[in-house]
Each structure stands twice: as C-alpha cells, then as structure tokens.
Amino acid sequence: MKTIWIITTRELNSFFDSLIAFIMIILFLGFSGFFTWISGSDIFMVGQASLRSFFGIAYWTLFFFIPALTMRLIAEEKKSGTIEMLLTKAVTDRQVILGKYLATIILICIALAFTLPYVITVSKIGNIDTGGVICGYMALILMSAAYTSIGIFASSITNNQIVAFLMALFISLFFHIIFEVIAGGMTGLIGQVVNSLSVTVHFESLSRGVVDSKDLIYFGSIIFMGLFLTEISLSKRNSYS
C-alpha cells in the first residue's frame, strides 16, 4: 500500500508539474460551468433546485477528458523506457498500475471538488435533494473510475500516446453510447443484456438517487476488468527490447 502511494504521489506531482492537471481542471470547469449555468438547457431552464443538468454535462465532459489523462500513464513510460527503470525497482507491476490509477482518480476527484460551489449555489436557491446530489457525484466518480481503467488499459497496449487516447475513446464509446443504441434495435434477452452493458443506464439510475447493487457491481466489474487486462498487457513486455 505504501509503495502504491509513493507511485501515486509521483504521478500526481507529474500531472501538476506538466500543467496537464491545471489544463484539465480549467477546461472541465469551463465546459461544465458554461453549459450548466449559461447556455442551452441550463439549471435556470429547469426551474428546479437540482444539479441534474450539471451531472448530464459532466457525464460527457469526463468521457472526453479521461482518455486525455490516461493516455500517457503507461504509454509514455514505455516510449521513454522509464518503465524498465521503474519495474526493476522493488515494486510489482500491480503496484505501479494501481498507483497510476489512483493518481488519475484523485485528480478527477479534485476537479469534481471544484464544482462543489455549484451545490452550495443551488442549495441557496431552493431546496436541494442532498441524497440525489451525493448519488450524482458518486455516479460521476464511478463512471470516471470505469473509464480510467479502460484508459489505463489502452495506454498499456501501445507506446504511442495518440493511439492510447483514441483506443480509450473508442472502447469507452461502446459503453457510453453504442451499446445503448444497439440495444434500442433489439428485443428480448439479448437486448436486455446489451442494454445493461451501457454505462448510461447505470449512470442514470444512480444519478437519479437510487443506489442499486447492480450498478455498483457493473462499475466494479468494468474497473476490475480494465485493471486486470492492464496487468496482463504490462506483463507481456517480452517482445520489445
């Protein structure tokens, strides 16, 4: 655990030193703030003291930002060769992956923490559903955790960051929208199965304020699969010299 934390702090420092973290936070707040408060179907249009529109927007902004954060995690180290320096130290592959994973999640949580003033503002306007807000944030964090695990996997299969970014976006896109679209054209059991693979379904139900173990298991399994495949892919480093 201590080793994981050492890697996490280094990774976080690197996020902030390379300005990626600042850019990500500014862009995330800029986009979500703009669409939540100023443009389109914003909070004032709804006429309710609810953050549902913000969650809907963050749902999309995070979808695009997470691959940009995860693309460098392993691909960069593979390209520069530092992965060799790191993995020949007293660490295991798993500790490295978990450390990097945790750092990304923390960064996303920091970005989300900056939107807490939204909660305060809305709660001053009217009666806010605190439980709903907590569930909404939980849904965002779980979704981010799932996409981060997909992103870190994409980063582990290549040493090109652009490829890692596009791969992560491509795989995430299935969960984000394609499964839902496919399921729309299907009926019966297969339709149900495909539909239940869609992040949207689980996100919606969570952010509506319903904590269902099905949703937690769903996100948990994506996270587990992503990290598990990352570990396999990282252990297959024999082919490059």
Binding site: R10, A90, T92, S241
Partner: protein, 308 residues
C-alpha cells in the same frame, strides 16, 4: 550475493537472443560482459533484473530462485539500463528521493542517503535542476545514483560509462571498483580497455552463445597460444640472424618486421626464449638493442572470437 545462471535461453520470435548460457558470478566479483551489438548482453541483464522473463533456464540469486522470489530479490539489485531512462521532468533531488522511497529505505535514512549519493556522483551543483536539462554525462551520474541508492548487493550496469568524458569515465570506474569490493557487479561495455581496467573476469558472448570466459590474462593465453617478442639485433647480416634465430629450440617462428633495420617478430613457445636469444647474440657478437614482449590486445581477442 552470488548469481548463478543455468542454461538460460530467450527467444524473440524465432531468433534466439540468448542461447543456453550458464554463468556463475561470485560475491565481490566484477564481471565484464562483452559482445558485439545484438549479442544478447542487454537481454541477459534484463532477465537477471526480472524485467523480462526467460523462456528456459533458471537464475539463482543468493541461492534463491529468481522467478519465485523476485519481489524480495529485486530489493538487492541495482540496475542501470542501457539508455539510462529517467523521468526527465523531475528535479534530480526529487527523483532520488522517489527512488529511495520506492526501494523501501527507512524514512529517517532517506535524506542522508540522497545527500550521500549526490556527493558520490558529483551532482551537487545540479541537484535542483530537472533531469532533462542535464547533459548526458550528468544524466548518466543520476542513473548510477538511482542504481546504488539502496546500497544493493548486486549491481547490473549496462554500459555505465557511455556518454561520459574521460575524467568522468575514470571517476566512474574508480567508483565501480570501490563498489565491487563488497558487491557483485555485472557490467557490459563496448570499451575494451574499460573491462581490463575494472573487471576481475571477462565474459564474451556472441549471437547468444558464450565464446569466452576468464580473466584478461587467460583469454590472452588462449587466444594466441604463444608469446611474441619484438627484437632488434644490430651488427649482423639480416639473413644470417634470421636463420640462427630459427634454429633456436624455444622459438617456433621468426618473421621479418623490418629487414633493413634488422627487426624481427619472434614467436616463442618457451619462456627461456628471451635468454636463448640473448645468448645467441652474445655468441655471435651481435648487439641486441631492443626486446619487447608483445601483448595481444583485448581488441584482437574480441575480434577473433566474435567475427566469423
């Protein structure tokens, strides 16, 4: 800690990068690992450091099987890899702190250890600079510092002096020599005089196979079979001298190195050859003005063993 490698084989596709290598390195020994490009040196080192796994064969480090005990064994290994990959955007001191922490050094001992490493590798003026801003030589020092920061019992150095200036090379060699007193060191290099200057033992591989293993001395003996003397004998007929030299029992072959200057290359099969030649000159009233034992250069041995 000693290293025992048994029948190590590693394939990349169909090509055998390492082909059935067995090797023992004793504690406190500095082993020079030589071979042309693509001979399998780096692959072997990557396998010893458990970065990649072998297809066949076993490695025992300190008596323990590497593939079963790698997380424990890795603590005792310091590794400087070929291209010296470092986190370019980290300041030297932060990077060394990170390495110290990750190698599991006690928290209270970390600052002292980092300062010691900075002093040993002469990085004092560069310690707050980002690694990416340093010249190659200084980066190489950082690489060495990160490899020895946890005081490992085994040091694996892949071309440790590449990119350094002659002064730095001398310093690093001295450092390796000092470290090598208690530690087991394997170092690979292309610079042959370096091997002679630093290593106790030389190990040459070519195309994944062992072609030589021994001290510089034994390799020399193996390679040439006989000693060569360069002599100059004055006050005599070159042809007559040539013939008389050939009659000596301790001499196997005589060559003219320079006929006009009466210079000869003499291949001897016995150590008494020098005395015989001297006596011959005295008997014939020739003057022996030069006699130099000629050492086969390590370069020649290397070329002979690896070119085919």
């Amino acid at each position: 800690m000693d290293i025992i490698i048994e029948n190590l084989t590693k394939k990349y596709g169909n090509q055998k990068a390492v082909d059935n290598i067995s090797l023992k390195v004793a504690t406190g020994e500095i082993l020079g690992f030589l071979g042309p490009n693509g001979a399998g040196k780096t692959t072997t080192m990557k396998i010893i450091t458990n970065f990649i796994s072998a297809d066949e064969g076993k490695i025992f480090i300190g008596g323990k099987l590497l593939s079963d005990n790698y997380s424990e064994i890795k603590r005792h290994i310091g590794y400087l890899s070929e291209n010296n990959p470092l986190y370019q955007d980290m300041p030297v001191i932060d990077f060394l702190n990170f390495c110290a922490k990750i190698q599991g050094i006690e928290k209270s001992r970390i600052p002292g250890r980092v300062v010691e490493m900075i002093r040993t590798t002469g990085l004092n003026h560069e310690k707050h600079k980002k690694i990416g801003q340093l010249s190659k030589g200084f980066q190489q020092r950082v690489g060495l510092a990160q490899a020895i920061i946890h005081n490992p019992e085994i040091l694996i150095l892949d071309e440790p002096t590449s990119g350094l200036d002659p002064n730095q090379i001398a310093e690093i060699r001295k450092l390796i020599r000092e470290l090598g007193r208690e530690k087991t060191v394997i170092l690979s290099t292309h610079i042959l005089p370096e091997v002679e200057a630093t290593c106790d033992r030389i190990f040459i591989i070519n195309k994944g196979k062992i072609v030589a293993d021994g001290t510089a001395e034994t390799l020399r003996k193996q390679a040439k079979g006989s000693d060569i003397l360069k002599v100059k004998i004055e006050d005599g007929e070159p042809d007559k001298i040539f013939k008389s030299l050939q009659t000596l029992r301790s001499v196997s072959m005589v060559d003219f190195a320079d006929r006009k200057l009466n210079r000869f290359d003499i291949h001897c099969i016995d150590t008494v050859a020098k005395r015989d030649i001297f006596k011959l000159c005295v008997d014939n009233k020739w003057v022996l003005t030069e006699m130099t034992p000629f050492e086969t250069k390590l370069e020649d041995i290397f070329r002979e063993l690896t070119l085919n």
